[in-house]
């Protein structure tokens, strides 16, 4: 029975599933990385994802282009990011609780809009698989990496882009400074609030695109609470990845790999109890967190409000 799991076809299938499954986690956790590196913890990612998923779906459902749907998601994500920034940065509410408030707001409003504007679960024609010419023909690797819809490629493209922005640009330097020591950054003329507003908008946009990747990319439907807590896992993946883009990529892939593996184990009728199979991703997460905890260097000002002259 276990032999079936180690055939080339199955291994390719597992890795292909892994790459696709990682997409929403990757987009949302990269966005969260920006926020946390600047010192703002946003637990409202799941709510932003739901709003992004809904607006992208609704725009496409109304007959508009898929890219207009993505833009709508980005716009609503930025607005949600601004709202979070206003509450957490300007009003200086407790970041954890205001994040939960934002999540509930997104959950409730997306459900309400769905009921009001659409009313029943409908399907749309979302982004189709877009095999990259030549690369998709490479045996094995081609199918695993280069045979997905465009939002999947975009998610992986965001890894080096995010790394570059955080580590090689002036904005990135400001983000890191504000997250590490906002008082010092302020004395050097960096607008702490301005930087945090910016990271909240970037994070919001990416979380919303993560939602769109579900509703018009991977599933092509919208259902209330369709993220099912995925945004909270994305927040955990930022810790898992030690606030580094490569770490977030590794965490997203590992979590998705174990998820893909458990689906294949069950589909091939390999005699592992399904309860054990569905627990595997979470067990793996805890194990890895336990072994990496010592190396974590979190932003010193994470989840701390900043007020001048305090």
């Amino acid at each position: 029975m276990f032999d079936e799991l180690f055939t080339i076809t199955t291994l390719i299938g597992i890795l292909h599933s892994c790459v696709r499954l990682a997409t929403p986690y990757l987009l949302a956790s990269l966005g969260e990385t920006f926020g946390q590196r600047s010192g703002v913890l946003n637990l409202g990612v799941d709510g932003i994802m739901l709003m992004g998923a809904f607006f992208a779906f609704y725009v496409v459902f109304e007959g508009h282009n898929l890219w207009v749907g993505v833009l709508a998601a980005i716009a609503v994500g930025i607005l949600m990011g601004l709202l979070k920034a206003f509450v957490s940065v300007t009003m200086q509410s407790l970041q954890g609780i205001s994040g939960i408030g934002l999540y509930l707001f997104g959950l409730g409003l997306s459900s309400l809009l769905f009921k009001t504007l659409i009313g029943s679960v409908e399907g749309v024609s979302g982004f189709r698989q877009l095999p990259i010419p030549l690369l998709a023909d490479i045996p094995g690797i081609g199918h695993i990496l280069f045979n997905h819809n465009i939002l999947v490629y975009l998610a992986y493209l965001m890894v080096p882009v995010s790394w570059f922005v955080i580590n090689r640009t002036t904005l990135g330097l400001k983000i890191r400074a504000v997250g590490h020591n906002p008082e010092a950054a302020d004395t050097l003329g960096v607008s702490v609030n301005g930087v945090r507003y910016t990271t909240m908008m970037i994070g919001g946009a990416l979380a919303a695109v993560a939602g769109a990747s579900l509703s018009i990319g991977l599933q092509n439907v919208f259902q209330e609470n369709m993220t099912n807590g995925l945004g909270f896992i994305a927040v955990a993946l930022v810790y898992f990845g030690s606030w580094r883009t490569a770490g977030v990529l590794g965490g997203s892939l590992l979590f998705s790999l174990v998820n893909a593996l458990q689906l294949w184990v069950q589909a091939l009728a390999i005699p592992v109890p399904s309860e054990i199979a569905v627990m595997m991703p979470y067990i793996m997460t805890i194990v890895v967190l336990a072994f990496t905890a010592r190396q974590i260097q979190k932003p010193a000002a994470l989840a701390r409000s900043y007020e001048r002259g305090e």
Binding site: G13, H16, S17, R20, L21, P24, F86, V87, M91, Q92, S93, I97, S98, G101, L102, Y103, L104, F105, G106, L107, G108, L109, S110, S111, L112, F114, K115, G119, S120, V121, E122, G123, G126, R128, L214, L218, Q219, N220, V221, Q223, E224, N225, M226, T227, N228, L230, N259, A260, L263, W264, Q266, A267, L268, A269, P273, S274, E275, A277, V278, M279
Partner: protein, 344 residues
């Protein structure tokens, strides 16, 4: 200084959030002379195209049959996946004087009996279950359930006839929960094609549409050319079936809107007769004590073909024959264990 503003902002956000999480028909909560008042507490939404929607649609059908909102009022609380929230909602509805409070989930059993003991003049119903509490002296609780393996069996027969690869994928929510439907389905497939392979996978969740969608991808890559599954999570899987042109067999509610070209059949749960009978009993002064089961024989289960796609007459005929065989007892897809708390 800013603290009061901060707190008010937070409260504002939380209030806004609360407005969409669960809904009630506000009017229904008011006193309505003459109208029969039904409240329902459900784990997912009225539009989940699965378990919750099946009951909500049936309630609306009964309301229409009775003459609209003047004759019957419906209040509902959806998204009650936390039993503690559901328990509070059940108690609230009972306290507000509703004639019938439906707790639409096996997980709500303890809450129902607890509240039913405190509100003996109110009628309650819950499912999936056959336990009305009569053995414990409780007289105001109805129980209900669907013999889902009947439709599972017929869908299995259809799947076996449609499959060319003889590989069929099943996507369940939580192991044990959809057991009735899946057991019936597997039996239907193997009765037609004993050598066909039925791959069953569980996502571990009722609502994880992402994992269900990926499970559909996995089954298709593993060779499946017909898929089925249950619970509200299947919307993602139907989307994948639609994208790949793979046949989908639905259960609980009508799922054609999601895959107009691939959804071949739906086993529909029709609770209307159950609700109508409960209302009649309540109006006659009988507040509980009956356990209902949806079957093909009592029209609680219906198998509907998608009329918009071409399906071989042979397949339709085999499905009809299977239903008749189940009704007449020639085929027994019932692998029931006593008191099955599953399939919601």
């Amino acid at each position: 200084m800013l603290r009061p503003i901060r707190i008010s902002m937070l409260i504002f956000l939380l209030l806004l959030a609360g407005c969409g999480g669960s809904e009630e028909d506000g009017e229904a909560a008011g006193a309505e002379g003459g109208a029969f008042r039904v409240a329902i507490v459900m784990p997912s939404s009225t539009t989940d195209i699965a378990w919750s929607q099946s009951m909500f649609d049936s309630l609306v059908a009964v309301q229409t049959e009775m003459g609209g909102e003047d004759a019957m009022k419906i209040a509902f609380s959806e998204g009650m996946f936390r039993v503690t929230d559901a328990s509070a909602a059940i108690r609230d509805y009972a306290a507000e004087g509703f004639d019938l409070v439906i707790a639409h989930g096996a997980q709500y059993g303890n809450s129902v009996f607890e509240v039913a003991n405190d509100f003996t003049d109110t009628s309650f119903a819950w499912g999936t279950s056959s336990d009305t509490g009569a053995d414990r002296g409780i007289e105001n609780v109805f129980a209900y359930g669907a013999v889902a393996n009947e439709g599972g069996y017929v869908n299995g027969v259809v799947a076996a006839m449609l499959s060319e690869n003889d590989v069929i994928g099943v996507i369940g929510p939580v192991a044990g929960d959809a057991k009735l439907y899946i057991d019936g389905f597997v039996r239907g497939v193997t009765d037609v094609k004993p050598d066909a392979q039925v791959n069953v996978s569980y996502t571990g969740s009722f609502s994880d549409t992402t994992l269900a969608a990926e499970a559909a991808h996995v089954h298709i890559q593993a060779g499946a050319d017909v898929l089925t599954g249950s619970a509200q999570q299947v919307v993602g899987a139907i989307g994948v079936a639609n994208e790949n042109g793979v046949a989908w067999l639905g259960t609980q509610s009508d799922q054609i809107s999601l895959g107009p070209d691939v959804v071949v059949t739906n086993q529909i749960y029709n609770w209307a007769n159950v609700v109508t009978d409960m209302i009649a009993k309540i109006e006659a002064g009988e507040l509980g004590g009956t356990a209902y089961k949806l079957t093909f024989d009592n029209d609680g289960l219906r198998l509907e073909f998608n009329e918009n796609i071409e399906i071989d007459d042979e397949v339709k005929e085999a499905a009809r024959a299977a239903i008749e065989d189940i009704k007449s007892g020639v085929v027994d897809p019932v692998l029931l264990e006593e008191d099955d708390d599953n399939d919601d």
